[in-house]
């Protein structure tokens, strides 16, 4: 028989949600099968079950038509299932070779590691699939695309016949995506099965043979890739028409709010992260910074907020120089930040909603009343107002932020930052990890702030988001701004090219 994997009537519930509801999935040998769905549809849960990280409440799994129980990742590996997670499971301080053999180390003299054998095995395997790597390189020095290769090699080293890839392209450049698809086809040719989890319609049509669509834990349908279209798949995924561009009237941008000239700075490893960055953001304008993660975005935001020193260059806000002043002062001057990692930098999870709503502004009126005392009464009314205005879904203003959903947490951050009508808003990956409804809300609010005269710097790895929201788009590549274009005068392909160092001229 040719069926590599068959999952029958898989059901898995967590407190409050049914993650998988009688899901059926069938993947043949030598097939690339796409698993499509929105955030929260249940794709990763289903694959985690296949990989032994979760146990299903109901249902059966058949590997090569034999019913099997997979109760740990060790068991899954034994049955030939390998998984490449969204967040890489690589140990940064170890070499590629050490990472690949971890857990299945070849030995000599009974106790010692046989490094020579390891290196040879890796070289042999990688050549077979076009996945060349340098076994002695340290993982922490590798770019993301190479790290992913290591993950795939890891799975192959353990004899994976069924390879699960969880959102592999979200961190890759278009060129790296092509490379990955080539490798996937090579694996398919050798009779292996690839399960490709994603929410990206164009990709799933480009590389898959069959596609299964999940929505809210249930299978909507399984189709042949050649017999469907992205629009049809989108409708299956969401059940309604998604408006892919939000209303964006054209406004005249006003005066310059943020000016950045000749910025240079170092990253945490003392290498130049920003080499020569210059741009301006005006009132009533959203400037989008497009770029693959790791090209200096994080350092740029750090420098603008004041968490990182510039080695060269000038920054001015509203005409006043702010190049090396503290974050505290910048906040006081009207700079506002919606950080990339809301749970790490945007909120204090163990503070209440109320306490989070005044974070960063606790020592400014109206909260501070003479001599360091914190006016909790005013903070309380303020919190009530914001909860109402931004429809923050919380049992009470004293609930800990930890207990809120991702979308609600982001609303708290937005409420806090936007309500003060800041001069400049820096929004980094503002919709990461949010579902479609929450994403639409964030987009709506950003456009609203722009329409009210705000200057917004949007940093996002999601090109669709950049194109949807920005008036002008700047591309950040290897620490330099390589182009600044009007949104209407460019497109995804040109931007993708610029993001990877190519240019149109």
């Amino acid at each position: 028989m040719n069926t590599a994997v068959r999952m029958v009537n898989i059901t898995k519930t967590f407190p409050g949600t049914v993650a998988n509801d009688r899901v059926n999935l069938e993947v043949q040998k030598g097939e690339i099968h796409g698993l499509l769905g929105e955030n929260g549809a249940g794709k990763t849960v289903l694959m985690n079950i296949l990989y032994g990280l979760y146990k299903p409440d109901e249902g059966q799994i058949f590997i090569n038509d034999i019913e099997t129980r997979i109760d740990s990742s060790a068991a899954a590996i034994k049955y030939g299932i390998g998984m490449v997670h969204q967040h890489f499971m690589l140990v940064p301080s170890l070499t590629i070779a050490e990472n690949i053999v971890l857990g299945r180390e070849p030995t000599k003299d009974i106790v010692l590691l046989d490094m020579a054998k390891i290196v040879k095995t890796i070289e042999d395997t990688s050549r077979g699939y076009g996945l060349e790597v340098d076994p002695e390189a340290l993982v922490r020095d590798l770019p993301v695309g190479l790290q992913q290769r290591v993950e795939i090699l890891k799975a192959l080293y353990r004899g994976a016949q069924i390879l699960i890839l969880d959102e592999p392209t979200s961190v890759l450049t278009p060129q790296e995506v092509d490379s990955l698809f080539k490798a996937m086809r090579a694996l398919e040719q050798q009779g292996k099965s690839v399960i490709f989890i994603t929410h990206k319609l164009k990709e799933v049509c480009a590389v898959c043979d069959k596609i299964t669509v999940l929505k809210k834990g249930k299978v909507v349908g399984t189709v042949e890739a050649t017999q469907t279209t992205p629009q049809e798949l989108a409708a299956m995924m969401v059940g309604r028409e998604i408006s892919s561009t939000c209303e964006k009237g054209s406004l005249q941008p006003g005066k310059t709010v943020l000016r950045v000239e000749g910025i240079q700075t170092l990253n945490d490893r003392k290498l130049l992260a920003l080499k020569d960055v210059a741009f301006e953001v005006h009132e009533s304008e959203i400037l989008g910074i497009a770029g693959v993660e790791g090209n200096g975005q994080t350092e740029l935001v750090d420098v603008l907020i004041g968490l990182r020193e510039v080695t060269k260059g000038k920054i001015s806000l509203d005409g006043k120089p702010i190049t090396n002043i503290s974050p505290h002062e910048r906040i006081g001057m009207g700079l506002s930040n919606v950080p990339e990692d809301r749970q790490k930098n945007g909120l204090i999870l163990d503070f209440s909603v109320l306490e989070n709503l005044i974070l960063g502004y606790q020592d400014k009126p109206p909260f501070e009343t003479g001599w360091i005392r914190l006016n909790l009464k005013r903070a309380s009314t303020f919190a009530d107002e914001l909860i109402e205005e931004y429809s923050i879904k919380t049992p009470s203003k004293n609930t800990l932020a930890r207990h809120l959903s991702g979308g609600t947490q982001q609303r708290v951050v937005l409420a806090r930052e936007f309500s003060r009508k800041p001069k400049l808003i820096i929004a980094s990956q503002p919709t990461r990890g949010l579902d479609i409804g929450a994403t639409e809300y964030v987009h709506k609010k950003l456009v609203e702030m722009r329409d009210q005269g705000g200057a917004i710097l949007l940093i996002s790895a999601d090109l669709d988001e950049i194109l949807t929201l920005s008036d002008r788009i700047a591309v950040l590549y290897e620490g330099k701004i390589v182009a600044i274009k009007e949104c209407s005068k460019t497109n995804e392909f040109e931007l993708g090219l610029l993001m990877t160092g190519g240019n149109n001229e």
Partner: protein
């Protein structure tokens, strides 16, 4: 008149090695714990318990080596306790460590009183004595330092090498480092993260207890309450200074051992008040941490690992 040669001589270096030994044992213990992602503040308590149990076992069996074995077992048990509290029950690592320290001080003094009728010191028991390595001890300067001393010193040196080999040349060591730095990666590679943490914490306790046994059975042959005197904490500083590496711990341990040995000789010389001199090792520790810590980053982030 005291001359410099009375203070700085071969005896000083021999004493350095001896003073360093308990610190290095405990620092090695610290390394095993921290490399697997658990802070072990309880080195002090584990050392003290080792010192006590060593004397206790020697008292009842009349054999110093059985005493050492007893110390190791006790240390392993405390390591297991720390593991249970911090790994299985996801407790606060520093609180658990401090609890073990307080418990150790209490229980050793308590049992000391019950068994020997004195909170202060136990009876004398059979100690480990010294052994000599035939050819080595005849070499002029090196022989005096290394040739003839209590056997635990040699064991310490062997363990330093062994720790290095295990951590960096065996699969087990690879797994240990992976578990500490990225437990999720180790887990998905099929490694039992919990088992490795338990194992390493037990080893941590056993090593610290060996350091304690050195103090009570190797240097003296009785137990005195609170005889560890903060060495468990100095060992932590040595571990940090040594970059969480076994040979680094040895080097750092020797540095601190030197200040300790120097301090004792200076007291004998009567140059300054004893209290001022006694404070020297502790001041040195603070200065070292202040001066050198910038260059070091721990190998793990100490967050407890929980499978979903």
């Amino acid at each position: 008149m005291i001359s410099i040669i009375d203070i700085i001589n071969v005896g000083l270096f021999a004493a350095t090695l001896r003073m360093a030994t308990p610190l290095v044992f405990a620092a090695l213990g610290g390394i095993f714990s921290e490399r697997v992602g658990v802070v072990n503040i309880a080195l002090e308590g584990m050392m003290l318990t080792g010192a006590f149990t060593g004397v206790l076992a020697s008292f009842y069996t009349g054999n110093a080596w059985l005493g050492v074995l007893g110390a190791v077992l006790a240390g392993g048990l405390l390591g297991l306790l720390h593991a249970l509290l911090t790994v299985k029950f996801v407790g606060n690592q520093i609180v658990s460590g401090t609890g073990i320290n307080i418990l150790a001080v209490g229980i050793t003094a308590y049992l000391s009183q019950v068994i020997w009728g004195s909170r202060g010191a136990s009876q004398s028991v059979n100690g480990l004595g010294t052994i000599s390595i035939p050819l080595l001890k005849d070499i002029p300067i090196l022989g005096e330092i290394l040739g003839s001393t209590t056997p635990l010193v040699y064991i310490m040196l062997i363990l330093v090498v062994l720790t290095y080999v295990v951590l960096f040349r065996t699969p087990m060591g690879l797994r240990i480092r992976a578990v500490g730095e990225h437990p999720a990666a180790a887990d998905t590679a099929g490694i039992n993260v919990y088992r490795i943490k338990y194992l390493c914490l037990m080893i941590s306790g056993m090593l610290a207890a060996l350091g304690g046994a050195f103090l009570s059975l190797g240097q003296l042959n009785f137990f005195v309450s609170s005889m560890t005197g903060g060495r468990g904490f100095i060992a932590l500083a040595a571990m940090i200074l040594g970059g969480w590496m076994p040979f680094g711990a040895l080097g750092a341990g020797l540095l601190f051992g030197f200040t300790d040995a120097l301090q004792m000789r200076l007291q004998g010389a009567g140059l300054l008040a004893p209290q001022i001199i006694q404070a020297i090792p502790y001041v040195v520790t603070v200065v070292v941490l202040a001066g050198f810590v910038r260059k070091r980053t721990p190998p793990s982030d100490y967050k407890p690992y929980e499978k979903e």
